[in-house]
Each structure stands twice: as structure tokens, then as C-alpha cells.
Symmetry: C2
Subunit: 390 residues, 2 copies
């Protein structure tokens, strides 16, 4: 019988893509939990704790978490099918690939979507947002906190407060798949109505869990909708009683939860909320790791995709290849050095840049030396590539 | 570093509910795989193999598997949103809880649903199905192979062939969540158009994967639909290129797959398709385990929910409590003996019966002694309960 203390994950290349990310041995061990009934008295409080700890991570008192088997993408369906009725308007702030996808999803469920597109590497100008909000009644405004395709960080607080000032009935929906637990988020104070994320990024758990947290204001909007919910699997009518039951210590059934992954998520949330470093300190450590990597890249002559540091994520870095070099010059050389980064994703510039993730233990557990390993491999790979191309 | 050979799952009560089920140490170890990129050259063939081995388990040459992060429930959305256009007719054969849910899902996406309800414990009479099929044009006919709520086994081959004879353009959709890899299924020979299942039952993997396999006929019907697909996350327009890419050895992105779970699924599929016992022998071992438990229950004076053995599942057993005894007399006593079974689920008789699962290693690995342990605990628990109530 392998104990939690004994379990050590297999050796592997360092995974520094913007998700999935490196996770701890304890989280993986929890993912290897023996099979358990999803309605057993042992499992119910584990699920309930996950709901409660998810609130803690987002600094919200009473927003409603939905923890559902699925990818982060499913969060868009939850928002589109529950909060927007067919024919209603949605305003999507676009800072990369994920704005297009969210728009596509909203339209699938009947929303009329207006997009405000930022130039690549930038964010949408607040004056432009204000003008749009004044021109029409929008049911929701959505934005991507960190767009995984560009590494652009939006100013969540500023956007939320702008919406409250100009169009207080519009719900503020934040796609935070690539920011929860790596970027500061203060859901209640900032006035965010929906925060949607997934397990495999800052939350440091394997992929497979869609995590959506809805303010009571959003829940009220949902409860008072007049047309039927337009999805079955993503319907909060089905899930709300389930989440309430588990949090109250009872089991209820709509679909089988991903039991093992819930154990893993529980372990990661426990580490994040109940062990050092504190949540605040974690954000600070992500900022530090980010600065180290961005400074090193700059010193190597690499330009980052975000137009400046104030709109650059702290959990990932997107870098253009230097002139004359392409993906095949850099990524395989990093790979040979045991470092796995990600290629480009934004369709317009896909082959011109690459992405480094620095979330979770890579940023918070400095003993691991991940950040230095990444920087060193980057230096060596670039030097080698330049030599070859010279 | 814990090796695959060293890893042994923690001691725990024997889980014999109709899913999740007991899984092997190797499958759990695979679920604790270090984090990997979902687009890495190491992971792509693992995903591709899962697609290929899923076909093998269902004995289909060219049907298209969809392996998507989600619960089994998501399979209903896939069928309803991709194969049925709003306003089209669906005929649902109802043998328990899951017929109602599938109907609910179909209606959510705009189908007009007709239900044929079997009496509790029975299946729908073929003559009734034939009459319904002749009365109206149905886009799909759906049935539950093993209804997890009742343990009723439908005759899949008979239903499929009836539909082909009477209404060949109607797609035959089988909800096989509780039957794949525990009941014989011959997808191509029987003429099933869609088989939908999940990872946590006969496929012996933790929960979190929706597995839907669509015949080329079904794919053609999907491709020629005239209205847009009515779901985003469940849209085959999104997923079909992804599945084809991974099977061809390339990566593509729509949503992050549940990487660790795919490793676990791969290991389980490997055990099922590439190690002894053979698939056929596995079905035989499930029939044997089922007979042992059903015979023992009969000897104890317990009546099963299915009206006779020919409509009783081989992967689970549903038993009425004996007169004068209730759930609290039996289930806690089994629990004290280390055996976890499930209560009732069918809304009309929820408190009158309980369910025992005997899928996967519990049936196929006789060395474990699971079946005997269940029978012995049942004998002891009943004796103790009778003594107490006497």
C-alpha cells in the first residue's frame, strides 16, 4: 500500500506551458485515490470543502461555485446558456483567441454579440467600452482576465467598476481560466458577477474540472429568466440543487462528479488556502517569477507580445521569436534541455511567438528552481540557435 | 520516485455500486501521471490509441469515437444537439430513471419526444415499438442498454434490427453507460448508430470522461443537418476535427482534454483489449458473477427488480428489500462489513430496493474474491437484520 508520504511522481520534463502545469506529489496521489461512491459520507464533505475553498480563493463571501466535470470551455456554455436569453445582447472584450471563442459560444445559444477588439498585445480602451455600454443595453459584458493566447492581462477591477458606473444591470463575466490563483482577484470587492476557470492552471490540479463562480446577483438574473435554459448538461437548474446539497452535507445526483479529480482539487485547494505561503504571498511570488523571466527575456533581446508590462500576465509570458529564428530553432532545443513550453495560439501570429507558463509551484516553490532552469535553458537554446544560424 | 510496479492503492471498502467501480492499481497509477502537455508528442499517440481501442471494445470497424471531458450525462447532449434538429421527433424507450432524463435532454434541444414506458422491471414490447415507428417519422430511437436505476437489460440487437426493418432512416441510439465492457455489444453487426458511455463503469477508469461512438451513418446525418448545432461544448463540429487529428498523430485544440484521465483510460483499455481474459471471456465472467449474486440473493429470499433473468443486467443486480426491512437495516450493516452498495434511484420506488454493481475486476478477477465477499456480507447483514427485527 503506497502512502501519501511515499508517493513521488515519475521523472519528467518540466512542464512550463500556460496549463496544464506542474502539480505536487500530494495532488497526484489524491488523483490516485481508490474508487469511492460519489454519494458516500466520506466523499460528500470533500466536495463540500471544495466549494467552500473555491470561494476563499476568489475572496467572495456568498457567490455560488459550480464544479462540473468538463474542460474550461464548458464555462462559456454555462454563462451563455444560463445568463443570456436568446436575442439578448452580449459585449465581448477581445484580447486574443479566447474572445473569439466566447463570442462563438454566446452566438450558439442565441445571443447577439458585439465585439470590441484590442490590437494584438493590448487591451480595449475604457472609453471605447463606455461608449459601447451607453449605446445599447447589454445583458453581459465578458472579458478574458489573462488571454492564454497572448499573455495579455486585463484590468479586471477597472472594467468591473466601469460597468457598474455606466451600466449597472449588465453582468460582468470574467474568463479567468488562466488567472485564478496566479493573479490577484477580489471577486466581491471588484464587483465581478461571474468568474469562470478550470482546474489545470493556477489551481494546480490535473485538467477535467470546469469551475464557474456566480455572484448572487448573477444567480438572481438566472432565476428570473423567462425562457428555458438552452443547455442540458450546463444547466444551472440541474446543478444548483446539487451544489447546495453537497455543501449542506447531503448527496444529490444529476451526473457523476469526477470523484478522483475532486480529491485532487481538494488537496490543491488545501495547499493554497491552508498552508504557507498565503494567498497574497502567492500572488507576490507569481509577480516575482514573472519579472525574473520577463527581465531575462528582455536581456536576451526577446520582445514580449503584450505591449507593456502593465498589461502582461504574471502567470505566463508570451515572447516573439527573435528575427531570423522560428519555432523549430527554439522549442526542440528547450525540449532537449528538459523544458516544455508552448507554441503560439493566436491565429494571426501563430508561428511568430511562443509561451512560457509560470504558475503554481513553478512560481511559489522557489526551492524547485524551475524559474532558473527555464531561464538557463532559454539562454543556452538561443545561443545555440544563433550560432547555428550565424 | 514511485514506480508502476510499486504503487498499491490505499485500503478501502469494496466499492460495488453500479459505478464508479473498483479499478486496478495500474489505472490509478496512470491517473497520477506527471502533468503533460495535451499537445505533446508523448501524449498524442496515447489519445490516438484510446480512440482506436474504444472501437475495439465495441467491435466496430469505422465508427467515430468522441472522448470528451465530462460526465456520461454529456453524451445525451451530444446526441440531442448534433443528431436531432429542432422540431424533429425522437422516440425514447423507457426502462427507468435514465429514459426520463434522456427525454428531458432531447426536449431541451428542441426535439419532440415520444416515450414508450415499460412497467418497472420490464422492457418495452417490440410490437409496441413497431407500432410507434410506423405511426410517425422518428429521427432517432433511444434506449438504455442497462438502466442503472433498475438493472434492466434491454435486448439491443433485437431493438436495432426492428428499427432497421421498420424504419431504416431512424438512428438507433443506445445509452450504454452501464453496459460497455460488461455486457456483450457488437456495434456494427447489430447496427447500432450511436453508443454512449462513460469511463467509470465497465471501462474501469475513474469518472470524468464522456465517451460517445457514432456510426458513419450517424456522422453523415450530422454532416447533412440544415440547422446549426445547438450546443457549443458538445458540438461535433468542434470535436470531429480534434478526434481525427489525434488519431492521425497530430494535435489540435478546442478544449483541454483531461490528460491524466486519458492516461488512466489508456491503461484500462490496454488491460481490456490486450491482456487476458479476452473481451468475450470478460462478458462470460460478468455473466457468471451476476448469476452467483442473483442465485445467492434468491436463496436469501430477495426478489430482484427486473421481472426475469432475461431482462436482468450482468454487470449489476437490483434487489428489493425483504418485507419489513428498509435501507437502514441493510446498507449500514453491509458498510460495517466493508461493502459499499447503492440505494434505490428510480423515483417511484426509491426506498424499496438497493443495487449491487459487479463490473470490471470485481467480475473478471476472481482471485480478488469480491463476489464471495459481497455474498457473505449480504448473508450476514440479512441474518443480523432479521434477528434484530424479529
Amino acid at each position: 500500500m503506497t502512502s501519501r508520504e511515499d508517493f513521488k511522481q515519475a521523472q519528467h520534463k518540466l512542464l512550463v506551458i500556460p496549463g496544464p502545469i506542474e502539480v505536487t506529489d500530494e495532488v497526484l496521489f489524491a488523483n490516485a485515490h481508490p474508487s469511492m461512491s460519489h454519494v458516500s459520507p466520506e466523499f460528500i464533505p470533500v466536495f463540500g470543502d471544495c466549494i467552500r475553498m473555491t470561494r476563499q480563493v476568489l475572496l467572495t463571501k456568498d457567490a455560488q461555485p459550480f464544479l462540473i466535470s468538463g474542460s474550461g470551455t464548458l464555462g462559456w456554455d454555462q454563462v451563455s446558456a444560463n445568463l443570456v436569453e436568446p436575442g439578448e445582447n452580449a459585449l465581448v472584450l477581445h484580447t486574443g483567441y479566447f474572445g473569439d471563442s466566447f463570442s462563438d459560444c454566446l452566438q450558439t445559444y442565441g445571443a447577439k454579440v458585439g465585439q470590441l477588439k484590442a490590437p494584438i498585445g493590448g487591451t480595449v480602451d475604457p472609453a471605447t467600452i463606455e461608449k459601447a455600454l451607453k449605446s445599447k443595453k447589454y445583458k453581459v459584458l465578458t472579458f478574458t482576465h489573462v488571454d492564454t493566447s497572448t499573455g495579455v492581462l486585463s484590468n479586471a477591477k477597472e472594467i468591473a467598476q466601469l460597468v457598474q458606473r455606466v451600466s449597472p444591470s449588465t453582468l460582468v463575466v470574467m474568463d479567468a481560466v488562466c488567472s485564478v490563483a496566479s493573479e490577484e482577484i477580489n471577486m466581491d470587492d471588484w464587483g465581478l458577477d461571474v468568474v469562470m476557470t478550470a482546474s489545470q492552471k493556477g489551481l494546480s490540479t490535473p485538467p477535467g474540472l470546469s469551475i464557474v463562480v456566480a455572484s448572487q446577483k448573477a444567480i438572481n438574473v438566472f432565476q428570473s429568466r423567462t425562457s428555458p435554459v438552452t443547455s442540458y448538461y450546463a444547466s444551472w437548474r440541474k446543478w444548483l440543487p446539487i451544489m447546495k446539497a453537497y455543501e449542506d452535507g447531503n448527496a444529490a445526483y444529476f451526473a457523476t462528479p469526477p470523484v478522483n479529480l475532486i480529491y485532487a482539487f481538494h488537496e490543491s485547494l488545501r495547499q493554497i488556502t491552508k498552508t504557507a505561503p498565503s494567498l497574497e504571498k502567492r500572488f507576490e511570488l507569481h509577480r516575482q517569477a514573472s519579472k525574473q523571466i520577463k527581465d531575462a527575456a528582455k536581456a536576451l533581446g526577446l520582445n514580449q507580445l503584450p505591449v507593456n508590462d502593465s498589461v502582461a500576465a504574471n502567470g505566463m509570458t508570451a515572447l516573439y521569436y527573435p528575427d531570423g529564428l522560428v519555432a523549430s530553432d527554439i522549442l526542440p532545443r528547450l525540449g532537449k534541455r528538459g523544458i516544455v513550453v508552448a507554441g503560439g495560439l493566436h491565429t494571426e501570429i501563430k508561428d511568430k511567438y511562443f509561451r512560457i507558463g509560470h504558475m503554481g509551484v513553478t512560481a511559489t516553490d522557489q526551492q524547485r528552481g524551475d524559474v532558473n532552469a527555464v531561464i538557463q535553458a532559454l539562454q543556452e537554446s538561443l545561443a545555440e540557435a544563433n550560432l547555428k544560424s550565424a
